[in-house]
């Protein structure tokens, strides 16, 4: 078991290294794409700044707390895209390009991350961390809430990344297309930059279990500022783990529908 994990991890890191090397061949282009990936964070920052400059803002959330939430939402968005580009992945499934990944002696899910991620999204991750750090330097948070928040963020991000793998496979099986997934991810990220309460119960459920991006943005931000207690924290943590397992198992099952030569 442990040997298996190490083998897969080594393969993933090695693939990451070569993805980076090939990405950096065109250095100017790499720089431009990294800058582009920070624009989503910039857009969130401007949006929140405008809201708080002309109104009292959103109830229960100060300006800097909202900036932290924006930072987290954009970090998870960039992590998703760093790990998997659904459009590219579904296209590879469709034209039979996934065959090569299946011939390798590694977990096929790891092969997906190794082949279909987009390295330039590191720019979005860095800008998200930067905004979060700036927000935290202006608000009072304790060490325990930071650790708890990081835990929620980690498991939440894992669940949402696995969800993207699963939904890409569902999309391939049903429609043989995944062009719209990138767009849906962007819209849900934009939605998860704000407190979920403003979307009502339906919206909250949608962003918690339907497209669980809230697990890695809203709830960790709530934990960071102690807006939820530790029982709630544990419940969200368990939910993230359970969803991750469900999405992983379903993805493995859906991979059986892949036919060489696509469809």
């Amino acid at each position: 078991m442990f040997e298996d994990v190490t083998k897969n991890l080594r393969f993933f890191l090695l693939s990451l290294k070569y993805n980076w090397l090939s990405f950096l061949v065109y250095r100017t282009q790499a720089f431009v794409w990294m800058v582009v990936s920070t624009f989503s964070t910039l857009s969130g920052l401007i949006s929140i700044s405008v809201i708080y400059s002309i109104s009292g803002g959103l109830p229960g959330w100060s300006y800097f707390q909202m900036l932290a939430l924006v930072g987290m939402a954009n970090m998870v968005y960039s992590i998703i895209n760093f790990m998997i580009g659904p459009q590219t992945f579904v296209r590879a499934l469709r034209n039979g390009g996934f065959d090569q990944a299946l011939t390798k002696p590694y977990d096929p899910i790891i092969s997906i991350f190794a082949r279909y991620g987009t390295p330039y999204n590191i720019g979005g991750i860095i800008s998200g961390i930067g905004l979060l750090a700036y927000a935290l330097s202006n608000t009072a948070v304790n060490a325990l809430s930071i650790v708890s928040s990081i835990l929620l963020f980690g498991f939440g991000a894992a669940a949402v990344v696995m969800f993207l793998v699963m939904i890409s496979l569902v999309s391939y099986v049903l429609f043989r297309s995944g062009n719209y997934l990138q767009w849906i991810t962007a819209i849900t990220t934009s939605a998860s930059q704000y407190p979920l309460a403003i979307y009502g119960l339906a919206g909250t459920l949608l962003l918690t279990v339907g497209f669980p991006i809230g697990l890695a943005s809203f709830y960790p931000a709530e934990m960071l500022f102690l807006k939820i207690n530790y029982v709630y924290f544990l419940a969200i943590l368990v939910l993230s783990v359970v969803l991750f397992i469900i999405f992983y198992k379903t993805s493995k099952w859906l991979l059986k529908f892949y036919t060489s030569g696509g469809g």
């Binding site: 282009q29 857009s43 809201i51 109104s55 719209y180 849906i184 939605a191 704000y194 979307y199």
Partner: protein
């Protein structure tokens, strides 16, 4: 005259047929654009709900809601595949086939993007705006409607001229999509896509109104909803026209240079 127009008609007909093959994709684009607007509508509704006054910077909630719907509707008509079409043509040599046709390459490009725009305008933009105006009781005057149409035409022209300039850059760069994405983001942020420019500091709004950015989103939406007086709309349209001339000159200069580099395998 008739014979001269015939090839254009045939090409346009084929492009319309090609576009309507992916009807579900077009419907999905429309729906997702509106869902995207819905996020902003819900956020701003919450801001208004918890605000002490019924209007923020003189803009009422109903106008802000309508604004984001109109922005989404205007956005539909401005999305075009011009940059990717040009990049494919120039880098993979597809342009060689285009150049042997009895019409200019630029005309072919325009006819390549026109069907998408016309269909999305007729079945997306117009119905959404009519519904918004009727349901929100906005009652724009004929002059306002004409200014709105003029602003959209100027905005679409500016967007496509910028697309043409960046598409042309693919003769020199390996991939222009990154740079163009950056420009599109700037247009979305500074053009009123995340908040009406009326909510920005006055100095920023006034400075932005001198650029070609607000005419692509804020000005048409604010005009039809009565958020800006006709004089500001006219001034923005005039500024937009000046920018069209500037961008057209840049595009012409760039295309003249690229034309010299063209060969059977592209550039």
């Amino acid at each position: 005259m008739n014979e001269w127009l015939k090839p254009y008609g045939s090409l346009l007909k084929i492009n319309f047929k090609n576009t309507t093959v992916y009807r579900a994709d077009m419907a999905l684009s429309t729906v997702l654009t509106l869902v995207s607007s819905l996020v902003f509508i819900l956020v701003w509704s919450a801001v208004y709900y918890f605000s002490s006054s019924t209007a923020i910077n003189g803009v009422a909630l109903i106008t802000t809601i309508a604004y984001f719907l109109v922005i989404g509707a205007v956005d539909l008509v401005e999305m075009s595949s011009l940059v990717s079409n040009m990049q494919n043509d120039l880098q993979y040599g597809n342009i060689a086939t285009s150049l042997i046709r009895p019409m200019s390459y630029v005309s072919q490009l325009i006819m390549g993007i026109a069907p998408d725009m016309v269909i999305l305008f007729c079945f997306g933009t117009v119905p959404i705006i009519v519904l918004v105006v009727l349901l929100g009781n906005f009652a724009p005057s004929i002059v306002t409607v004409l200014l709105f149409i003029a602003a959209i035409l100027v905005g679409v022209s500016i967007f496509n001229l910028i697309g043409f300039i960046f598409g042309g850059l693919s003769a020199y760069l390996t991939n222009v999509w990154g740079v163009y994405s950056a420009v599109s983001w700037i247009f979305a942020i500074a053009g009123g896509g995340i908040a009406p420019l009326a909510f920005f500091p006055h100095a920023v709004t006034n400075a932005l109104l001198l650029t070609p950015i607000p005419i692509t989103a804020y000005v048409p939406a604010a005009t039809i909803l009565g958020m800006i007086p006709s004089s500001i709309a006219i001034q923005s349209i005039v500024v937009g026209l000046v920018w069209i001339v500037i961008l057209a000159l840049i595009a012409w200069f760039e295309w003249t240079k690229i034309s010299k580099k063209l060969n059977a395998v592209g550039v």
